[in-house]
Subunit: 660 residues, 3 copies
Amino acid sequence: MASVKPPYLGAAYYPEDWPLEQIDEDIALMKKAGMNVMRVGEFAWSRMEPEEGRFDFSWLHLAVDKLGKAGIATIMGTPTCTPPIWLVTKHPEVLVVGEDGVRQQHGARRHGCPNSPVYRDYCAQIVQVLAKEFGKDPNIIGWQIDNELYFSTPRGCCCPVCHQKFQQAMKARFGTIEALNAAWGMDLWSQTYQSFDQLPIPLSRTWHHPSLLTAWMVFQSDSYVDFCNHQADLLHKAVKQPVGTDMMPFSGVNYQHIHEKLDLVQYNHYHGMENFWENAFWCDFIRPLKPAPFWNTETATCWGGATTANGYKEPGFCRANSWLPLAMGGEANLYWLWRSHWSGQELMHGSVVTSAGRPMHIFDEVQEISRGFDAVREFLNGTRPIQTGVALHFSGFAWWLFEFQPLVHGFHYAASLMRQVYHPMIEVQLRPDVIDPASSLDGYRLLFSPFLPALDEAGLKDRLRAWIESGGVWVVGPMSDIRTMEATKFRHAPFGVLEDWAGIRCDYDIPGDPRQFSLQWSDSTPSEGSIWYHGLKTVDAEVLATYTEGPFEGLAAVTTKKLGKGRIIVLGTLPTPEDLKSVLLTIAQEAGVSPVADATGNLMVVPREGKAGKGMILVEMLNQTASITLREPVTDLLTGKTHSGMVDVPPYGVLVLKKA
Amino acid sequence: MASVKPPYLGAAYYPEDWPLEQIDEDIALMKKAGMNVMRVGEFAWSRMEPEEGRFDFSWLHLAVDKLGKAGIATIMGTPTCTPPIWLVTKHPEVLVVGEDGVRQQHGARRHGCPNSPVYRDYCAQIVQVLAKEFGKDPNIIGWQIDNELYFSTPRGCCCPVCHQKFQQAMKARFGTIEALNAAWGMDLWSQTYQSFDQLPIPLSRTWHHPSLLTAWMVFQSDSYVDFCNHQADLLHKAVKQPVGTDMMPFSGVNYQHIHEKLDLVQYNHYHGMENFWENAFWCDFIRPLKPAPFWNTETATCWGGATTANGYKEPGFCRANSWLPLAMGGEANLYWLWRSHWSGQELMHGSVVTSAGRPMHIFDEVQEISRGFDAVREFLNGTRPIQTGVALHFSGFAWWLFEFQPLVHGFHYAASLMRQVYHPMIEVQLRPDVIDPASSLDGYRLLFSPFLPALDEAGLKDRLRAWIESGGVWVVGPMSDIRTMEATKFRHAPFGVLEDWAGIRCDYDIPGDPRQFSLQWSDSTPSEGSIWYHGLKTVDAEVLATYTEGPFEGLAAVTTKKLGKGRIIVLGTLPTPEDLKSVLLTIAQEAGVSPVADATGNLMVVPREGKAGKGMILVEMLNQTASITLREPVTDLLTGKTHSGMVDVPPYGVLVLKKA
Amino acid sequence: MASVKPPYLGAAYYPEDWPLEQIDEDIALMKKAGMNVMRVGEFAWSRMEPEEGRFDFSWLHLAVDKLGKAGIATIMGTPTCTPPIWLVTKHPEVLVVGEDGVRQQHGARRHGCPNSPVYRDYCAQIVQVLAKEFGKDPNIIGWQIDNELYFSTPRGCCCPVCHQKFQQAMKARFGTIEALNAAWGMDLWSQTYQSFDQLPIPLSRTWHHPSLLTAWMVFQSDSYVDFCNHQADLLHKAVKQPVGTDMMPFSGVNYQHIHEKLDLVQYNHYHGMENFWENAFWCDFIRPLKPAPFWNTETATCWGGATTANGYKEPGFCRANSWLPLAMGGEANLYWLWRSHWSGQELMHGSVVTSAGRPMHIFDEVQEISRGFDAVREFLNGTRPIQTGVALHFSGFAWWLFEFQPLVHGFHYAASLMRQVYHPMIEVQLRPDVIDPASSLDGYRLLFSPFLPALDEAGLKDRLRAWIESGGVWVVGPMSDIRTMEATKFRHAPFGVLEDWAGIRCDYDIPGDPRQFSLQWSDSTPSEGSIWYHGLKTVDAEVLATYTEGPFEGLAAVTTKKLGKGRIIVLGTLPTPEDLKSVLLTIAQEAGVSPVADATGNLMVVPREGKAGKGMILVEMLNQTASITLREPVTDLLTGKTHSGMVDVPPYGVLVLKKA
């Protein structure tokens, strides 16, 4: 086939659900829509292997070949998300057991136990055969392992195999049961175990220990990572194309870990109009995970849904939604799905063409997007988003820790991180990488670690200290460095090392529920905190804000101290969004970091540079007019117009600006 | 006994729960209340058959005989709703299994599996013995099978017997498993079965296929119908009185099917003040089911309830509530219950006399109702409601289809049909029959089929086409003709035949969530649609309304086309209530159908005629004053007064008007 | 050790969860806080008996000894609330089964079946060994059995052992199954049993009979009482110190019954700012249970919580909260907990010092409380609250009866009793004992029995009649005397004896839902009732209020009648709070009972007298300024100031006033 180059625009295509003779009609419409890639295979196990050991790929070759001939590349998915009935009938033990101890039935998806050796063997078989069939096919540009490796029940799989593997994992981690008891404080309530085989599955009916619950969920995440690695190894042996796995925004399985053996990030998301900007958070999170540009493998054209359609989206949304990932470091945008299903659990989900093969109302907008992708191909492929030196910590371990220890009513880790921290940052055009604690800190000058309970994650503590001493500026808190990796408190102090590093002492904490407390910045501006209050005394630090009421009136709320060539700023409470913007801008300036633009907060501005030149991509995110004051003249590659000075961006508008 | 003639006024009577010597006191009070019928026996299996095979009807004969001597007829219920403990102890497998896979316990009701052969045998035994005992008793005027044959759990009975019968039913329907897979589209998610014995019970924990769920619920409905038929056959062999089964407003079991072998409809309802008019919908639905007048077998006098009383109702409500079913085609109104229970699960339910045998505050109103029934006996028995030529489709299959495929958030089939369609119709005094798709269309001139997804139900499609071509006017949509009988979409077009019949083409649909879209009628009146939007182009049709915004701006929202001697009006979206009234009145006029009265929307006007003359019954439904402009002079049989011209009807007032 | 005298100020202390070498640091802080008692041991079974039969108390002796040496007494808890893993691994049948039929897992607390003979044996063993170890220890001032003996699941334990014991209990109560069937009215719905072994566990999935449900819960309460008695007997044989069991405010287990074999009441509570006054209700309830002053064994210093902190409380709350129980008849106030947990299910709960051993913000307030306790020791120990002659009935049986028969929507027995009855009483400074129906009526002149469905409880009826005839004034209703002890209605009349005693006849009742009805007092003041309406006629009584609308317009709402030397006032509906205050004050005057003070409603005024003199303790309860007009000059023992006339009490203020 003719070589297909990024950016990729495409969709999920399920030829197994339709008459084969319909492929030509579909391809004609795909071409009309301007698509150059299709994602196939992910749920088609029963068509690939209708009976155990009998394989049939003829239909799939036909589809891939015809697509290829039409200049449409294929991303091939392994179908392991949906085991066929012959497998689950012969081996019902491969099905996931829920948090109530009851096993799932055939008929859904994502219901295979990640630890089941039987299931693993069958998965290995189909993956190897599939890889052999298509590993050398020039139409294939990438592989997708399984589909959306999240937990199908709130506590992952609670089957006997998982139970035993968890006990083994704990034995491997602690060595002796005494060490586990000591680490988790199991003398409390006589919870002490005598041997690892006494560790229960923490089912939902019993009020379990948060350390047990956290360890169980981390183990479940590890299990899915291991399940993915297994296929990644098999694929890497057999295929040359890049291998990934399409993941929804963080929902339990550790993103950092699962991508270690993968070649690129495949990202599915279904943001709506009301929280569209959260998409930017996830793009900022997945971009730094891998050197390769990520693929946005799934998003809705006009609405999501299952047997109910999830709400109409206004014109322009599809445009902004399709461009944002590309602007922020991706090179592919695929819709879910090409043609609406004609039956089944998701038949009301929006698509590009209807079940009857008629273009949906969004079709024209998709064509416009395709023309745009074509117009900027060289610039997109020849530039990458600039790393600005700002990073924000986001931790999968913190997610689980706060799930079982919210600390204060109304606190939801990811929601608070996105809405109360990330959103103010991007509103003032700070352009952060959102990084896992395991990530290297090289290249960053300003790092923000709010709600990061465990500094011991992935050896962060030592790397962090060294990074600060060599000049890094670290903004930390509230609720950071307050837990061990065993989800317990420290016993020597409220923090692990923070008092020592930051020259402070925290006498006590007060929850920000049911009310907030006022404070005053060092310039006498009155304000208030939120969520949580560490009452701080300075031992060897400077006070930036002081509480002005409550038991801790007069204690410090925000402090700062130089450490080596760097600096630590401790937030004893979370400032208001306006205060946080102001504080961060001040600190950024000191850290030598600047906002990427002088623009309104609803505008995503992504500076890019590379062999294809310099420029920036603008995407409006709130369906409102935005404006930016350009620092130098640019040309919009989409329209050919040149711009300078103050420029308005229309609602959901996209501009790809290249410097002269 | 002296012959008892309709209309019947009475109550449910449970002599098994009280000392036998109390019967005389009860009968004296019943006579004082003016009652002439009691419903007995429905839960008394353990008193009829205290041990397996040992029967005792002496107490029941005593009650029936004493009632009869007092001129009170009896409706006899089979007691199969409440199996005795000796049965469930010996055969726990007869108890229903819930959607979580857990079996019910003894101590409730409606918990016998309709498919259990063991349970069926015991039911046959008690029914036959009971029928033999009372089949020739002149005091018995009718039989009631079981009680309220609805599902006791959300997915009916999920026991192994039901499972196997379901598999057999699917085999009988499809012949081969390949045919089932093809019909339901089971290649999706590798759901394909290899044999019928792999079909699962669709328990609630797993996200099952909507075609499977729909088929399961239809099978459950069929199971209850079959359970009822079994008893109907036995009773018809042994008794001469009419046989029915008392049913609550549609709750899953198909009304049309279950009444095929029955002689009349027995209808239970518990409408309150706020939704009293919905009672009219159900009366319009059950009246056309059988030639015989229906019996309103249960309703509350003053409040419903279980262990909590369900709210006081204002004076007059009982009057309106008791008269409405009689006005609309019934000949019996029985309260639940005669004397409040002194113990048990429903001891707070309202009644006619208290547990202590004291008249409740409603007693005087019951006496007034009784006097009224007496006063109009001849007119009521000698007339029937006039069939006006208007019909509205209501489908049990649609109910289940939308249960598992709501299509759009907030859409509830029966609620929307009643509130957004039926209510506007009766407010402009269109007097419809509410009919099942299986019903004959003979005699109707105007038929409205909103939200009727499957035109293939009961061979409707061919009958409908013929009916239209011979002059019928069919108003259809939105969301009609959009699904096969397998709960899947059509693949060739968004509709089955509607595009062809109506001369339109639907490019795409948009859900009416989260917002509505504006449209404009052909006379330039601006308005808006709701719920759902089909974007229509006319191929060979006339446009009645056009969308004025959104992606489908300029497309047709409502179209019309002549077909043979008839006409099709397609509603691409549901108009506002005011628009719907206006559209329907216009169309009705063209169809030669008129409103039955010039009256306010809170007044139910039921024209009646027959050998006893002509006239109409008026019932006020909203506890507000109503008014009607009479077309000719009439006499109110309740007061003897003559009326003409504009007449006010007081809140909850009832007038029985006979033409001179 | 130096003898420790009440009042006791202390906390729960868990040396098993911390390094032993930390004890000295903790004790130093306890002394600094001014504490003189610690509560230990309650959850430490696995430390006391790490393996079956191997005991280790060395660590506990160390703690008790060191505390003792520091002048801090110890309350020793039996650790049976938390069975060790070796027990539940060997005997999983000791774990509680929930209302869904599923057994609990190891890892929580309160999950041992109270009826399990195996569990009982192991409990006996550890209790006896512990009693032997510490029974003669001079540092121990009291024993606590287990911890918070409430049900860990909504229906207690539903295991096979409980099932069988319940059947035995019913056999013991009824003798024959026919008697049970007759008493519960089981002919209804063919629920009749043939033998006691057919009685089911009333699991939550089935709609069970309210008499069965009520009997089951009373049996569960009896089971916990029996479980407690078992340990009480063992302890009384082995130790000389007083024995109690710490209970939360009523949550199912009968307070009256469980305290029969105990020496004093141990009371845990966690009231917040919004419902702090409810604490007074519980103090008024537990004070009359035993002659000995009660111990407030648990309360939060600053917030409760588990893995989430339950909200900050304002300064002063801890003061008022700590003093109130002492004012009202207690002699101990212990916080939960001394040092915040560093791990586990409750690690966010407030405390006195943090996990890191740092004083919380509340520490100063605790010190102030300690100084206050010291200052008033002689007065407190030498006086007791005066019994004023007023009593209010509160019944555990009523709790369960209304749980399964709420009668009217929105009615919650304890909440209505506290908010709509008790609160108005204390606002007008009536100072009631809240008494169980089993309590003696000696010494009371005015008794209020609202919502007391069963007068047959504990032989109350005869005692009550005699008490009235000898001069008592009884205010009763609404919803009193309406049920048998079998949770059924009476059949001869709506009330058991009330019509006869009060010279009235109740024709019918109407629920106070969805609206209220108006009434008029005999002085023509218009008002309205609430909750429930008995429509009364007087046979031989005087009318105090009359309904002025609804079906019962003109019937009596409140009546009065002399009976012997006493009087009965029947409330046919619950008056408004203002009316209730007015009615009660009038009746109180007639009964020779007076408000204890002329003070605002937010002030708790507790008159006390004894060998140490006379006086009163004042506690402000709503964080608002209160005022009182003193009848004679007094000295505040906390400040040494003398007061007379009108005195303001600051928000959450406490005054201990002794007459000169």
